[in-house]
Amino acid sequence: MPNRMPPKSKRLILKTAAATLVLAGLAAAAAGAIVLRAGWYDTTATSQHLQPVHTLLELGMRYSVRNHASEVRVPPLGAPRQVLRGAAVYAAHCAQCHGGPGSAQAKIAQSMQPLPGPLVDAGAHWQPRELYWITKHGIKMSGMPAWQFHLSDADLWSVVAFMGVLPTLSARDYAQATGVANAAGTPASAPTTAGAAQ
């Protein structure tokens, strides 16, 4: 038998491979359609993503923001008046979901899936231009709203400036800067039967 495959059997192999791929694709699509239509996927916010899914989605978001924010030009940040304005904007629009040092986010945000995280470490994960981009455009399917049509550009940057000083604030500093009390209330006011009807 010669080393080279005769063209005829080569063609047969290619055809078989192509048919197998098409059939496997169709089978996967059919299986997906069945799972979707039967309602087997659990969309409740009490069920969690699998960790690899969460990690992958987060990574995709990270790369997307990094890419899209690369052209943003950053104005001077950190003037005391700007930071003060940023604290007010943060207290009015950010704290209810993200909380602050010593201050919890509101109930509505505690139960979101995915969770809105704290922003004290935002500067460790993001460049100022990226924080501006996220605040301005929001993040699809995460609950993070776009603020572009609700805040002026100066206010968007003031929040970014405030996030820059956030890690340096103690719980007391933060309360003074924002004038907010603990959004979730003290435990004394917590309903003792919360979650009883699980």
Binding site: Q48, Q51, A109, Q110, P118, P187, T192
Partner: protein, 119 residues
């Protein structure tokens, strides 16, 4: 008498299935796991069995059963952990950890999950 022994043996066998209840701990760890997620603990703490980002805003809550102290200097008992979860600033006024409005029952269940030996 024989039936009773048999029942006792069955009860013992039933106890062997799944996760053994952690010795001396009160509360429902499985419910506590959901309660931890629903009170946003995972936003700042990495917690075994709960999905979320890599974060070090609060200490990772791994191997809590083996820690001698919680919150720096509080002896690690379930009762202290419940107190800490419900009102951390009453124990350490300097802490950045907020009270998030956790009920006694939820805090007990959370502590049962966090103190489980294999977490």
């Amino acid at each position: 008498m024989r039936a009773r022994l048999l029942l006792g043996a069955l009860a013992l066998l039933a106890g062997c299935q799944g996760k053994p209840p952690p010795s001396g701990l009160q509360g429902d760890p499985a419910r506590g796991r959901v309660a931890l997620a629903q009170h946003a603990c995972r936003a700042c703490h990495m917690i075994p069995g709960i999905t979320g980002p890599e974060t070090y805003v609060g200490r990772p809550l791994v191997d809590l059963a083996e820690s001698r102290f919680i919150a720096g200097s509080l002896p690690n008992t379930q009762a202290n952990l419940v107190r800490w979860i419900r009102n951390p600033q009453a124990i350490d006024p300097q802490t950045a950890m907020p009270a998030v409005g956790v009920s006694e029952r939820d805090a007990l269940d959370m502590s049962a999950w966090l103190l489980a030996p294999d977490n």
